[in-house]
């Protein structure tokens, strides 16, 4: 017996739209089975995982805090992926954005001015964009594989941050702990509402999603991105430059990741530490695909992923399961999203080698 994937002649529009929802439902069912095997009541468990975090205002704030960087990074990545540029290094661009943006509050900490915060945000975007410019340059001029270069630059960024906070940028009043000075008040991204900790980073994320959505749908640039992404040759006939597109998409996604980085540091952490991201840059790749590379879909996907983080914590408290459940749910979700997508494009054909194998093969 053998299983083959066969390309479907026509892709169902209905199922393309439904696919993420089917994946979500399958994840929940698989999760319920897992909780049952752990000896927990699956209804209680799913309730505390997916519903409890949505019932309180403060928890919704935490959801927004967690979702903001995921959405912002994923929106940038969607432009890259649509144009067939595979930027895997958003985590590094996030970190470099955070470092570039932190120059003012850490090195020039004595400079107090209302200009500090806007400059920090700009420098954050610039830092992320320039860092993404390295793989862009390598791809555009040396034809290097951007998947490898952007991924490897993540580790460079992580080690650079590590060196900074242990060495030249270490807080002189921090009891020798590896962390920088805490930011002064004017370097902190203000909270949005008095009811919780959500800061302006969430607004940036939503704005970026809307702007990119508009660009993709209504502008020539959007058309250029899609055309070059689907067929570079066709794009060239239309007069679009794929080299310029490499620069544009990589720098744009780098800027988004960099802004997410400085917003996270300035709004939530308020200092640099050896580790400032629990892997937002990588989780955002899941978010981008779960949102079907559509900026508005990405907003929803970012919120769902953020919910798995909060849910893991809530479930730990109320039903006493390990916090590793979060990882399991994220893995299940990605698995089902990818397999649903595969099944939209392909159908499974089982080939029985003994019984009627020839008859099936004869069909060709």
């Amino acid at each position: 017996m053998r299983i083959e994937l066969e390309k479907r002649p026509k892709i169902s529009t209905l199922f393309s739209i439904l696919s993420p929802f089917i994946a979500l439902i399958l994840t929940i069912i698989a999760g319920a089975i897992m909780f049952m095997l752990l000896g927990k009541n699956p209804l209680d468990a799913l309730y505390s995982f997916f519903v409890e975090p949505l019932l309180e205002v403060w928890s919704l704030h935490e959801l927004a805090i967690k979702a903001a960087p995921l959405i912002l990074i994923a929106v940038g990545l969607s432009v890259c992926y649509r144009s067939n540029n595979w930027n895997i290094g958003a985590e590094g661009q996030f970190i470099m954005g955070a470092i570039a943006g932190s120059i003012l509050p850490v090195v020039f900490y004595e400079w107090h001015s209302p200009l500090v915060l806007p400059l920090m945000l700009l420098m954050g975007m610039l830092g992320g964009a320039l860092y993404a410019g390295i793989p862009a340059f390598l791809k555009a001029h040396l034809n290097t594989n951007e998947i490898l270069t952007s991924l490897m630059l993540v580790y460079v960024a992580q080690l650079f941050l590590d060196w900074l906070v242990r060495g030249p940028w270490r807080n002189p009043d921090g009891m020798n702990f590896p962390e920088t000075r805490t930011f002064a008040a004017e370097a902190i991204l203000p909270e949005l509402l008095s009811s919780g900790r959500t800061h302006w980073g969430f607004v940036f994320a939503i704005l970026a999603a809307i702007l990119v959505w508009f660009m993709m749908r209504y502008t020539l640039k959007g058309l250029e991105i899609s055309v070059l992404g689907q067929s570079e040759r066709a794009g060239r006939f239309a007069g679009f430059s794929s080299r310029k597109m490499i620069w544009f998409s990589m720098m744009l996604s780098g800027a988004c990741a960099g802004l997410a980085g400085i917003a996270e540091v300035s709004g939530a952490i308020q200092q640099l530490r050896p580790v400032i991201s629990p892997g937002y840059g990588f989780t955002a790749i899941i978010v981008a695909f779960l949102g079907r590379l559509n900026p508005l879909g990405i907003i929803a996907a970012g919120l769902v992923l953020a919910l798995t983080y909060l849910g893991g914590e809530a479930a730990q408290l109320s039903i006493g399961v390990s916090e590793k459940v979060t990882r399991v749910f994220q893995g299940l979700l990605l698995f089902f999203v990818l397999s649903c997508d595969t099944l939209i494009h392909y159908k499974i054909r089982v080939i029985w080698s003994k019984l009627g194998g020839t008859a099936v093969d004869g069909g060709h």
Partner: protein, 356 residues
């Protein structure tokens, strides 16, 4: 479909209700852990303290915990979640939770917080710590007797005062029996990373140390020592299982007496903010059984322990010089706690440059 929704809603209501009902009966005491509760070291010691607390006051309290909480914004959310879920007393058990604990405490003036090993207090935030260095002095003495080469390897975490105290106390203990004793220090820059800790252990052994001690939390260095056939000291928890023929003793953190004392005060309405720094005599740390050593060394260790418990011996008592040879403590003078809590210098004889 309607039926399902109704069933879900009922379940939700019942759940919510039962949670509230039990909260009214018993006080909730909660813990935030930086590592896994089965890490075999620091966090496990706190979790054993929690379990003993729950057993001791079973009819009056229940406990809850969140484990593997990263330091930073996630810690703030975790602590806030506990405060909101009805915890009356919250222990945050890592230095890196300090700022987050103080921040959340300001929002919940009716909840009491206890932060381990930090220095920032508030009317509803107490701090607690243990005089680990007393145990390190005893370990150092044992090392001084047991090491044939007279060189010990020290796997350190971060150059904060608590760790520097430990290095100094270990060396002072060792030099009390072997005046030429040396230690080599490796800064792992982590509390919990089996891979890095094992690498540090291997590097030290390759440099010729024949005894190993650690101020990091996993059993990895103990396992490396066991493989290479040298002796080692456990940290935070009794690590004898990782090295049945390797561990000489371990500094065991026994938080239970403190947790029980403070929870009782909380239940009696007598909880007040304090900055507590207990030692061997209070039972906040104990020494694991002295094993894998000759009887005379064991007798010496036991005697030193008794002297420290009775207050007859204070590890940081002069004459002690600083690393550069200048005098720190004159003969017979003991250091005050303030100097120890901010300790950022080595004593004479430490073969390392303190990261500044």
């Amino acid at each position: 479909m309607k039926k399902i929704i109704f069933a879900l809603a009922t379940t939700a209501a019942v759940l919510g209700f039962s949670a509230q009902a039990s909260a009214q009966e018993k006080a909730k005491v909660c813990f935030v852990y930086v590592g896994s509760k089965t890490d075999g070291g620091w966090t496990q010691a706190h979790d054993i303290g929690r379990q003993e607390l729950e057993t001791a006051l079973a009819d009056k309290i229940e406990t809850q915990f969140l484990e593997n909480v990263p330091e930073g914004p996630d810690a703030e959310r975790a602590i806030e979640r506990l405060a909101r879920s009805g915890c009356g007393l919250i222990f945050t058990t890592s230095f890196g939770f300090m700022d987050q604990t103080v921040k959340v405490a300001a929002k919940f003036p009716d909840v009491k917080f206890e932060h381990a090993t930090g220095y920032k207090a508030a009317p509803n935030v107490a701090t607690y710590n243990s005089r680990f260095y007393e145990g390190r002095y005893i370990s150092g003495q044992i090392a001084g007797k047991m090491s044939t080469k007279g060189v010990a390897g020290y796997i350190a975490s971060f150059p904060i005062p608590e760790v520097v105290q430990g290095i100094n106390a270990f060396l002072l203990g060792a030099r009390s029996v072997n005046p030429d004793f040396k230690i080599k220090v490796v800064w792992a820059n982590t509390w919990f990373d089996p891979g890095k800790e094992a690498d540090a252990a291997k590097a030290l052994i390759d440099q010729g140390v024949d005894i190993l001690t650690q101020h990091t939390d996993t059993t990895a260095p103990m396992q490396v020592a066991a493989e290479r056939g040298i002796k080692a000291f456990g940290q935070a928890s009794d690590m004898i299982k990782a090295g049945p023929e390797t561990q000489l003793t371990a500094i065991v953190d026994t938080w239970a007496p403190y947790y029980i004392k403070r929870t009782q005060a909380f239940l009696d309405g007598k909880w007040e903010t304090t900055s507590s720094w207990d030692g061997l005599k209070d039972g906040i740390l104990t020494m694991a059984p002295y094993t894998n050593m000759p009887d005379d060394v064991k007798a010496m260790a036991e005697e030193t322990q008794k002297k420290i418990e009775s207050g007859e011996l204070k590890p940081f008592t002069g004459p002690i010089n600083k690393q550069d040879g200048t005098e720190w403590l004159a003969a017979g003078v003991s250091s005050d706690d303030g100097t120890l809590l901010g300790m950022n210098f080595y004593v004479e004889g430490v073969d390392d440059k303190l990261p500044q």
